[in-house]
Amino acid sequence: MSKDLTASSESIHIPMIFEGGLMGEAIRNKDWKATVMGDIKQWSPQLITILNTIISSKFPYILFWGDENRCFINDAYLPSLGLEFEIDRLLGVPAHIFWEGDVWDKVAGPEIAKIKNGSQANWSSDELIPIVRNGRIEDVYWTYSYSPVRDKLGNIGGALVTVMETTDKVKNFSALEESRNQLHFAMEAANIATWEWRPKENILYGNDRLKKWFNQEGTQSLDIENFLATIIDSDKSRVKEAMTYALDPDTSPKYDIIYNIVNEPGKDRVVRAQGMVYFDENRIATRFNGVIQDITKQYEIEVEQKKLTSLFQYSSELILLTNQKGIITGYNPAAEKYLGDIVSNETNILSCLHLADKSEAREILRELSSGRELSMELRFINNIDLTAQWMLTNFSQIIEESTGKIIAFAVTGSNIDAIKEKEHLLEKINASLMESESRFKRLANNTPAFIVMTDVSGKLTFVNEHWLAFLNTTKKELFGSTLDQYLHPQDLIIYKKTYEKAIKTSSEFNLEYRIKDKNGMYNWISSVGVPRYDVDGKFDGYTNAAMNINELKIQERQKDLFIGMASHELNTPVTSIKGYVQLLNMKYGKGDDLFLSKTLHTIDSQISLLTGLIRDLLDLSKMKSGGLKLDKTTFEFKPFLHDVLEQQEIINPDHTYKLTGKLKVNVKADKERLRQVLINFLSNAVKYAPESKSIDVAVEIENKTLTVSVTDYGIGINKSNEKKVFKRFFREEGSDEKTFPGFGIGLFIAADIIKKHRGKIGVKSAKGKGSTFYFSLPSIIN
C-alpha cells in the first residue's frame, strides 16, 4: 500500500510539471527537498507556471530564480551548452557557480541585477560571449532578452532570459560585409565607375566616380546628353552606334567599347565601358547597366608596347632575349636573317657564335649576372650559308622594376662588316705607308740632294744624311727645330716669309738662299718645297728638296761679268769704226766719186749688221744662262712709241711710218725689252720690204690687252712658216737670198721677251703681199 501510496503521492505531484522533454523529466526527477529550493510542492505557483511555460517552448530560455539566481533552462537551450551536457550540473545551481568568471560577473550578472532592481526589460543582440563548449573555448554570439518574473506577493523573484545563439547570423553577416568591402576595394582599385540607365524613363544613375568623370558632380540624377557631351567628338558617333546596337533586342545585348572622354581640358581619359541590357516580356529595354573602367594607363602601356614590338620586329639590328643561362627566349626577324634557322626558343646563344668567340661570350654572360652592361665585337655564324658576321654586340640586363630581379638578358648586334673592312684596309694602307716611308728615308739618305721634312708649323721632322754631313750636326739637334741658325742673315727674312706664306696656302714654293756649311762658308742653295697631305687629305707639312748651287752661282756671275765685258769690249771698236765710216760718208758720200760713196755705204750697213749680231749673240747667251731678266716699270705708252718711231725714222730716213689707233695708256713692262721687240719688228719691216717705203703701225686696246702690230708690204711669209719664224735661226728666203742677211735670232729673242710678259706674239702674212707682226700684252693700266 505504502508503495502504492508513494506511487499515488508521486502521481499526485507529477502533474505539477508537465512533459517538457529532457528538462521536464530532470525537474521532476530531482530531489528538491535536499536542496535550498525545498520541496517542489512548496514552490511558488508563479515559478511552477513559468517553468511549465519555458520547458514547453521551442525558444531557448534561462530562468534565474531567487536571491541566488538559481538556474533553470529548457531543451531548446541545450545545444548552446554543447554535446553530452549533464543537466544536473546546472539545474537549480546558483548562476555565479555555474558561470564562474567574466561571463557572469561582467555580462549576465549586472544585467540580471538591473532587472531585479526594477529596471525595464532590456535586450542585447549579437554579443560575443566566448564559452567553453565541446571541450574548448568557442567564440559564440548571443542575442538576449532579460525580463522580470514576479512572485505571489508581486515582488521580483527572478529574471527570465531568452537566449538565442546568433553566431551563424553574425558570421554570415560579417562575411557579407567583407565581400561588400572587397567589391568596393576592387572597384576602387580598378578605377571603375558604375552606371544604370533606364531608357523608358530616361533616368541615369551612377556612382560618384561616374559623376566626377562626366563632369556632373553634385547632381542627383544624371543627364544622358551631358554624359555623351563628355566623350570626345571623334568617338561620339561610335559610342552612340554601340548603344543603339546593344538596345536592339534582335542583336546582341552586350555592350563593350573603348573611347576617350575629356573632363578637364587637355586631360584625355581612355575608358572601357561594358554593360548589359535587360528587356521585359514585351522586348522593351528596361535597364541598361554596367561599368566604366579607366584604362588610360593600360592603353598607354599597350600603345608603348606596340611601338616597342614594331621596333623589335622591324629593327635591322639583331635582337635576342635570353635567360641568364643564355638560352634564347625571344628573337626578332633580323636575328633570323643573320643566324638562319638555328635560332629558336631553345638555342643557346653561344651556339650561334664563331668558335673563337665562344669563351669570351660565356665570360660576358657570367659577368652580366653581376650587374653590368657590356659590349664587344663578336662573330655570329649563319648556320645556313655558314658565313661569319662581325657584330658590335651589346649585352644588357632586363630588370623587373618592382622586385629588382633580373628577368632576362637583352642582346643586340649591329653589323660592323663595313667598319671591319675599313679597319683592315687602313691597316694595309698604314703598312704600305710605313713601307713607303722607310723606302723614302732610305732613298732620301742616299741621295746627294738635301732633303728635309717639316710639320705644319715648319719644325723639322726629317733631315737626310747629306744635310747632316753638310751642316756637321745631328738629327737630335735639328729635329723639332729649324734651319734658321744656318741661314745667311740677309736671306733669313725672305726665307721665313716665303715659308709662312706657303704654309698659309699649302702651296708649293721655290727659294734660293745661302746657308753656312761645316767650315763656316755660305753656300747658295736652291730649294723646292712641296706640301704633304695625310691620309685624310689634311695638310701635314712640307717635303723640301734642295741642291747646292754654289758652283752654278759662281759660274753665272762669271758669265754675267763676261757678257758685260764682251758688250763693252766688242762695242767700243765697232762704235769707233761706225762713227768714222759715218763721218767719211758725211764728208765724201754725196760727192762725185761713186766708188767711194758705194764703198762707204756698204761698210756702214755691214757694221750695222755686225752691231745687231753682237747684240743678238749677247742676248742669246743671257737667255741660255737663266733667261732674260725683266725689269718691269709702269710707263706711258704714247711717248714711248713716238720715241721709238722717231729714232727709226732717223736711222731709216727712206721709210715712213703710219701710226693708227689709241695710244693713251699706261703699260707695266720692261721698257727696254719692249723697245727691242718694236725695233726688231720695225727693222724687219724695212729689211724685208726694201721696195715698199710705207710701214703701218697699229695700236689696239681691248679687254685690258694692248696689241701692237707692224705691217709691211714686202715679200711676205709662207703660211707653213708662220710659226717657224719665231724659232731660232729661221730666216725667210727672198728672190735673192743674199739680199737678206742675218742669223734670224731677233724674232726668237722677241718671242722670249713677250712670253716673259705673259703676252702673245704672232704673224699674219701672205706670200708676196707682206706681213703683219704683232704682239699683245695683258698688263695695261688705264
Binding site: S567, T575, S576, G579, Y580, Q582, I650, E672
Partner: protein
C-alpha cells in the same frame, strides 16, 4: 742760245771714240772739250763750263750715273743737258733714273746723236 756755238764736254775712256766724236763735232761746227775719267769731275765741269755733256756710262771702274746724279742735284749744273751712252741697252733705265736727259745706244747712228744734241741745244737756257 741759237746763235752761239755750243760747247760739248765729252767724257769717254776710249781714245778712238773720243777722237771720232771730236772730229764729228768739229765737222758740225761745235766746240768740244774732253775728259777721260771722272777724277775731280765737278771741278772740271766748273772750269770747262760746257753747254752739253756727252758721257759714257762705264768709265774704267767708275759709274757715269753717279756723276750724272751729282750734277743734276747741284743747282749750279742741273740745267746742263746730259746725254748718256752705253753698249748695254738695259742701262737706259738706270741713266734715266740718274737724271740723264738722253740715252744713246752704242754703237750709234751719227744722225741719231746729232738729232739728240740738236734737241739738247734747244733746251739750253
Amino acid at each position: 742760245m741759237k746763235n752761239k756755238v755750243p760747247k760739248i764736254l765729252i767724257v769717254e775712256d776710249s781714245e778712238n771714240i773720243l777722237e771720232m766724236l771730236e772730229l764729228m763735232f768739229e765737222i758740225q761746227g761745235w766746240e768740244s772739250a774732253k775728259l777721260k775719267n771722272l777724277n775731280d769731275f765737278v771741278d772740271h765741269v766748273a772750269s770747262i763750263a760746257p753747254d752739253i755733256i756727252l758721257m759714257d756710262m762705264l768709265l774704267s771702274g767708275a759709274n757715269g750715273c753717279d756723276a750724272c746724279r751729282t750734277l743734276k742735284s747741284d743747282d749750279a749744273y742741273k740745267e746742263i743737258p746730259i746725254i748718256m751712252m752705253s753698249a748695254h741697252p738695259e742701262a737706259r733705265t738706270e741713266t734715266t733714273n740718274a737724271g740723264a736727259d738722253f740715252f744713246l745706244d752704242k754703237p750709234f747712228e751719227i744722225n741719231d746723236l746729232i738729232s739728240k744734241i740738236e734737241t739738247a741745244i734747244e733746251m739750253i737756257p
